[in-house]
Symmetry: C2
Amino acid sequence: MSTVIPISSHHLRAACSDCSLQELCLPAGLAPDEMHRLDEIVNRKRPLKRGDYLYRAGGALQSLYAVRTGFFKSCVMHDDGREQVAGFHMAGEMLGMDGIGSGKHMCDAVSLEDSEVCEIPFNDLETLSRHIPTLQQHFHRIMSREIARDYGVMLLLGSMRAEERLAAFLLNLSQRFAARGYSSKSFLLRMTRNEIGSYLGLKLETISRALSHFQTEGIIAVQNKSVEILDAGRLRAMVSQCSVATAPMAR
Amino acid sequence: MSTVIPISSHHLRAACSDCSLQELCLPAGLAPDEMHRLDEIVNRKRPLKRGDYLYRAGGALQSLYAVRTGFFKSCVMHDDGREQVAGFHMAGEMLGMDGIGSGKHMCDAVSLEDSEVCEIPFNDLETLSRHIPTLQQHFHRIMSREIARDYGVMLLLGSMRAEERLAAFLLNLSQRFAARGYSSKSFLLRMTRNEIGSYLGLKLETISRALSHFQTEGIIAVQNKSVEILDAGRLRAMVSQCSVATAPMAR
DNA sequence: CGCACTTTTGAACAGAATCAAGTTTTGTGG
DNA sequence: CCACAAAACTTGATTCTGTTCAAAAGTGCG
């Protein structure tokens, strides 16, 4: 257990990205044995089909989850059945941190396409992070970044108009795809117009109209779920009034 | 350092509330020596006058802060000079957790009345929490609750209309005052209409109108900064459509 | 005591929501 | 693989909520 496993650095990197814990272990790099110990507590999770729930609001929080492949939304349900999307999550991002405080999940996490996640039992993570300062620091950073992101969303919802919100949303997606090695110019919207609207505090008709408008302006090309960004500069100009909104905005 | 300091439980409680670390140490209670070690890393901070900055966006994050007395807002500045209020903070609450991820504060923290804070050097807190699991758990809960609160604000900004937002805001304040032993029915608004509006994604005129309207309806009595809640039930009814928004909403 | 800031209130305006209809896409079962 | 039903999307017309502009009154700090 405390023996250093003799594996190459290439191996480590592979193992890390393999379990999709990029956010937890990549940034500063753990020592080989540390990485191994982290790996030991991570459970591979069965794949989820589109529409499956990863967890539900009110359920006991046992684990945090790292998205391995696929795409998720987290959303809170109103009494009347309407849903409010609180965030979208792609490969390499973590889910479930909102539930630590109360021990219960605060929202539903739903798979928007066939996905796979790694399950990280929270108690084990807490214990392990006491022994591995680097891991502890990363975990704190991840939670903090979540808070900072949320601030950005609040800014967006509190002070931007419809088309500015959508521009910020598209730029944010673009940037996150780019960070994962996908094209920043051309990608698929995994969620419906309704879900985008819910996330941005707008109605689906408004999303549809704004997308159409961007298209006639030559800023983007949309066809169904696929989006191509033609003029990122103009998108950036639309949100530039809000300095903070560009980078840490969405999720 | 590892010696158990012989102080009574009453002493401990006093010391704890004294340094205003309620959020960090009260909930489950630390052992006497643990409490003492926590106390050792906490620096008493000079009082701040109204309008003083506790920290500024972009500044290096050295410490987290616990509000001892007083009232703060945290806000992000737009390029054009407008400000967006991201939260209000009263005695016993913690500030600064948004900056851990980047090592820099993401927003300004401004005192809205003469206040006093405790400074908790973040590195020391991280180190200490490795040795005191209870402290570690509390710290994680605090960060998580901040995330959950932010989800609530997103819900509010994304799906409630003006008067619902204000109702939720008043109820949240009421509740937080009550939790600190103050009246839940009658309190002072430490912030301006403009700051309330910024926080709720509305203009100050809208806040003013809504307050006036609530008053003519007999739901509240307002005079300048002082508010008395006459019919909490109707306020609750206004926000009840959003189950989640009531409790963990603002900050 | 006066000046600056905050608040209130009114009137006109604008942006997004709502209502509605029609079209396209997607998913399912035969 | 096709047909059909359900879901998602687009677009237009209308309505309504909240913003903007404006002016006056109140409050408080120096």
